[in-house]
């Protein structure tokens, strides 16, 4: 374990030394993400302009189709649900000083796990539904634990292993959905539909998965701020050697944080499968994991702030299809806008522009490969 300089791990959510100036004041925490999003939309607007479409028209279509009616709002909630959970997955890792780039893979494994538990068993709904969700969570946690064990006990960088595990997961679920878990007598690469007893219900029009995700966010807000285990996560993230000195089992904490992170991503996959898609199909959940990174950083690693950040991203994702349908703009423009948002949030551009602080301390989470 190498020493991480506390000055470099400052994320603005906890101040390890009260006498030192907090780099992000309250107003900055809110203003910076908002300005970042607006800047990203402006640059994205230029891309849309190049394609010969008025950016204002395009953005009107993008947001009005998502927020204009009940159907649109339901879609936004559906799209946001796994995003809240993958955002939380990245947040929990980040707070413990881990880069879980593997939410995508963990989500896929969780999704197919939940699908299998959902179609393979006959039980009353009161047991079946929790069981299917729990199984998805377990699959995600197990998948992340591979990277967790390697990081904690073999000092292998979780950045590389989670990226590799993403690729392995993509191939693995494709195999599973095309051979052992394939729907019988169908040529498609997909599992059978989950049983009605395992499907997530709706509260009126509100998908219950969305409600679950909201509660999970609140839970983790409480967990990270108010519990002993949450304190361990934060301490290891801020300064592993201090944590070690204070008697916290750093390796165990790192392993646990990685498993929890994977559990959240797996839950995202489970909720998506049981609530929205109703079965597992490999093409359903592309790219959700990377959005989690953008969301976590927009929310500055705060579990509660993950909700509005995920709703914003979910809105853009929900409107992307209408955008293509009505204006002919490729939906990938949303990817570019989100990447630019990430850039503006993570880079000191906006902070400097707004607050004219010459030496804004930048958040730095990485401390190298291997032995770090």
């Amino acid at each position: 374990m190498s020493v991480t300089d506390p000055a470099q791990t400052d994320l603005g959510y906890t101040d390890p030394n009260p006498r030192r100036e907090t780099p992000w004041s309250r107003s900055q925490v809110i203003v910076t993400p908002v300005v970042s999003v607006l800047l990203a939309l402006t640059v994205g607007g230029l891309l849309i302009l190049i394609q010969g479409v008025n950016p204002l028209t395009a953005y009107w279509v993008l947001f009005s189709s998502a927020l204009g009616d009940v159907d649109g709002l339901v879609t936004v909630m559906e799209k946001s649900t796994p995003l809240i959970l993958t955002g939380l997955a990245f947040t929990v890792g980040l707070r413990t000083g881990l880069f879980n780039i593997g939410a995508q893979g963990q989500l896929l494994v969780g999704a197919i796990g939940a699908a299998w538990a959902g179609y393979n068993f006959q039980m009353p709904a009161i047991i079946h539904l929790p069981f299917a969700i729990a199984f998805g969570i377990l699959c995600g946690a197990a998948w992340a634990s591979i990277a967790g064990v390697l990081r904690a006990y073999r000092s292998v960088s979780e950045v590389i292993t989670t990226i590799m595990l993403n690729a392995v997961a993509i191939a693995l679920v494709d195999y599973l959905a095309s051979k052992p878990l394939q729907e019988p007598d169908q040529p498609l690469t997909r599992t059978p539909p989950v049983a009605d007893t395992a499907a997530l219900p709706e509260f009126g029009v509100i998908p219950s998965g969305f409600v679950i995700a909201l509660f999970v966010s609140l839970f983790f807000g409480w967990f990270l701020a108010r519990t002993t285990q949450g304190f361990r996560f934060n301490t290891v993230g801020l300064n592993p050697s201090a944590a070690n000195y204070a008697g916290i089992g750093v390796k165990k904490t790192i392993f646990l944080a990685m498993a929890v992170s994977g559990a959240l991503a797996g839950m995202g996959g489970a909720v998506e499968t049981l609530g929205i898609t109703g079965r597992f199909e490999p093409t359903f959940n592309a790219g959700l994991g990377f959005d989690g990174i953008t969301i976590a950083l927009l929310a500055r690693a705060n579990p509660i702030a993950t909700i509005p950040a995920a709703l914003l991203v979910g809105t853009m994702r929900a409107g992307a299809a209408s955008l293509q349908f009505q204006t002919g703009i490729e939906p990938e423009v949303v990817d570019v806008i989100l990447a630019l948002t990430l850039l503006f949030v993570a880079a000191p551009i906006v902070g400097r522009m707004l607050f004219r602080k010459r030496a804004m301390k930048q958040a730095s989470f990485s401390s190298g490969w291997g032995g770090a």
Partner: protein
């Protein structure tokens, strides 16, 4: 990896190749050629990682840099009708992407992994957004057969009858080794990556060294991308790089941040894939295609678990330099 193991493994593999060659000449040559072609972008991309990390900057955006360059290189070549011009456009694009990372990670002192992730997401988004079908290359890339040397059995057809990119990749690895360990530039680069404070004290401009190294390394990522779209695939598809930029990082670690070590590791990766494909084609083994696709990634994870703790990254990697 300890040198002893590396030598033993290398000798064992070479012996295996010679034995295979005695039994089946054509098949051995074809497996080895396939392996080398597979290794070319990995070698180049691993060199990008080595230059960056030896300078103290983590480059997780190699994948995105390659993807953008593959895109720009292919469409550049198709539109201008000139392969060389297309390759140069690819390399230039790689350098722009390198400068992008350098600006974020060096000038702005951003978190380096986030900066790399941003490059990957932007590259995926932009190349998909601007992707269009119906373009073809003006010609196929020529092969350069080196006279005399190409007539040596086994070694000749494998090593000396290739496209220009292959020679460039092999030369780059050797050249980078010389540059890193035998020149002033190399000494400065390594000092900036190991102990930037001392480098600064001795008069080296840490920020400038890092900035230019990361930018120039981007050019190599550009070459790797151009190889993929112009020579290997002769087309551009979404997600063409298929994770090679990430595999290259593992190869860099496996090669202990040494260009020659990484060259060996990349060739080993290529060989593992070449063998798996051949065995699959010969129906000696019957593994679902998805497991063949997983192979390089699983190999990476296993190798990392084995070598971790035995190789050490440059001491200052990942840390922005703050003047005291």
């Amino acid at each position: 990896m300890r040198a002893r193991y590396a030598y033993t493994l290398t000798i064992a593999i070479l012996a295996g190749i010679v034995v295979a060659f005695v039994f089946d000449e054509n098949r051995t040559v074809s497996v080895l050629s396939f392996s080398l072609r597979y290794a070319v972008p990995l070698i180049l991309a691993a060199m990008v990682g080595i230059i960056c990390e030896r300078s103290g900057i983590i480059n997780i955006g190699i994948e995105g840099q390659m993807l953008m360059s593959a895109f720009a290189g292919f469409f550049g070549a198709a539109i201008t009708g000139n392969l060389i011009l297309g390759t140069m456009i690819g390399v230039g694009t790689g350098m722009i992407m390198g400068a992008f990372l350098a600006t974020g990670a060096v000038t702005w002192k951003m978190d380096q992994i986030i900066a790399g992730v941003i490059i990957n997401i932007i590259a995926t988004g932009l190349t998909s957004f601007f992707y269009s079908q119906g373009y073809v290359l003006p010609a196929i890339t020529p092969k350069l057969r080196i006279p005399v040397l190409a007539d040596i059995p086994l070694v000749g057809p494998v090593l000396f009858d290739n496209g220009l990119f292959t020679y460039a990749a092999l030369l780059t690895a050797v050249l980078l080794w010389v540059l890193l360990f035998k020149t002033i530039w190399g000494l400065r680069t390594r000092s900036v990556g190991e102990k930037p404070g001392s480098a600064d004290t001795s008069g080296i401009n840490v920020q400038r060294t890092r900035f230019w190294n990361v930018t120039l390394a981007g050019g190599l990522a550009g070459l790797a991308g151009a190889y993929l779209s112009i020579e290997a695939a002769s087309t551009f598809e979404r997600g063409l790089t298929a994770g090679r930029g990430f595999t290259a990082l593992a190869i860099m670690i496996f090669g202990a941040w040494n260009p020659i070590g990484a060259l060996g590791a990349a060739l080993f990766f290529g060989l593992a894939n070449g063998l798996a494909s051949q065995l699959q084609a010969d129906e000696v083994i019957d593994i679902p295609q998805q497991f063949i696709n997983m192979l390089p990634y699983i190999l990476t994870i296993v190798l990392l678990a084995i070598v971790s703790g035995r190789v050490k990254p440059p001491a200052a990697v990942g840390k922005p330099y703050e003047k005291e």
